[in-house]
Amino acid sequence: MHRSRPFFHVVLLFLLALFVCHPSMAAEPIKIGMAGPFSGADASFGEQLWRGAEQAAADINAAGGVLGRPIQLIKADDACEPKQASAVASRLVDMDKVVAVVGHFCSSSTIPASTIYADAGVLMMTPGSTNPAITERQLPTLFRMCGRDDQQGVVGADFVVKQLKAQRVAVLHDKTTYGQGLADSMRNRLRSAGQTEVLYEGLTRGEKDFNALVTKLKGVQADAVYFGGYHSEAGPLVRQMREQGMKAPLISGDGSFSEVLVVSAGGPQFVEGVYMTFGADPRKIPAGQTLVERFRKNGYEPEGYTLYSYATVQAIVAAMKATRSLEGEKLAQWLHTHPVETVMGIKSWDAKGDLQVSDYVMYRWDDKGKYREVE
């Protein structure tokens, strides 16, 4: 009864061969977690991170992937909430089985999530969490692609004292790990320079009305206001300062480093005279020029942490290529001792996982809504 059908079998074999032997599709992708705030008030930073990482993954895959396998980014949204950060970290480790993580963004998310990655031996590199406590805990598999707030706060404080020559400095923060940490390091430097702040207070994230606080700033006659926090609060704060006739400059950190600050303030006329610290503009680093052009051609301005995120993926991949391994400890060991060439120049890390060189500089906003480095 059973008639052999050679043709059919040949076709079947051929199809099977196609299935098994397809060059890159067949190779199991290497999963890398991309964790950050993709929803919630900080989602604009999440977008920067995702754009950078996505582009990096696409470029690496187009060049043949890593160890013959493509990389696949797994998006994990922590909404900048510590609890959710722990939850998505567990998911990345247990369910998705990622071999490395790019992220998180908010320091308050990075800290709880990092212990989970460290326990699982998963390499983690944050493109934008600047709180000093992150690397002070000496987790062996934890790195960052950015500076620290105790470096950033020092630059801020020195600028306020030496350049602005302010006498009555008010220090505000947004009660987050990042914001308060930055404000504290600024305050410490201020005090060691022999100045005591006239006001040290926190405001509530998500609120828009800081008029009472601004009136208080007027009452203590602050001649410079330092704010540790993100642009969504820095914008309304500076607007209400100007509306109430305060001319004192506002100085902030990397959390305001986005053109969205103009939108948050409701117009470029309000951000004039706002200062902020950030790494030397990554878009000006020669190594990244062609990439910046490519981003712009697609109608996206790679500002803020976009290139940091791109460079983070590059560093992780470089470690994989060099060690020919996917083990967190091996990758970390390599990164601790080897410099990596990234889109942001050559980066190297110390034993804690901090960058060897941080390059915070001060930027100033003009009345056109653009920022440029202060000479």
């Binding site: 989602a43 405001l203 609120e207 828009k208 009136t215 208080k216 969504s232 969205v260 939108v263 303030a265």
Partner: protein
Amino acid sequence: MDLYILAQQWVNGLVLGSTYGLIAVGYTMVYGIIGMINFAHGEIYMIAAYLTAIFLALFGLLGIQSLPVVLLGVLLLTVFFTALYGWSVERVAYRPLRHSTRLAPLISAIGISLILQNYIRISQGARNQGVPPLLDGVFRFPSDSLDQRFIQITYLQSLIVVVALLSMALLTWIIQRTALGRACRATQQDRVMANLLGVHTDRVISLVFVMGAAMAAVAGLLVTLNYGSFDFYVGFLMGIKAFTAAVLGGIGSLPGAMLGGVVLGLAESFFAGFVNSDYKDVFAFSILILFLVFRPNGLLGVPEVEKV
């Protein structure tokens, strides 16, 4: 203590309180008529902010410059479309649950609030959005002060206070004096009986949602113009504060919503201004707890008679 600073904090608190009051009305009206908390109301306010920006941009695109025309046009359009959202929310999320347990609409309110938030996040993007300052200018007393010794209120802030008071008066008049208001009160007192006597209760409830949303639209417009920026998340905190104001004033009472808003705004302003802004919310909510302990029906609320 500097008298100017003290007076300025009164102004700050009054303006902030008026914005709370404008939004609190939506909570209090819905609670008054069907006894449920419409947790999606903060989101309605957020949508109004987006609509304001969209219509402002539209008017700018059409080249209409005249300030009164723009303001009035944007107000009418925003109120209309926001009211549409309010009506749809009631139709989709609450009406089908009218005869189920008391908790069911509460949960669907939270659900619809999440849906609206994420719908806006996906369709409009997660970034902050801004509107250009439309009504620049400020009253200062004394106006010739050269140093920082003056009290001030911007045109927009004074508009917020005036509009809040006017709309409160208007709504109170509607509820107390018109046929529609009578239908509302009848529905509130006994829905079945009102229905038997020819009141179209479903339509009345819809109308209450529409009115609440319209008030949120007015607030969305004014507050957005005042602060200049917003994102898809602004409804959350504002909703909580406004809800607190409504409870403080006595939920179900219209003047209570306004009064509660102003009390909350002043409490926040004074505590932030003279004690510490870190703990202003702690202070504000402590007041709320004290009220709930010693005066459970709020400032102007009437004790609910348990129907047997």
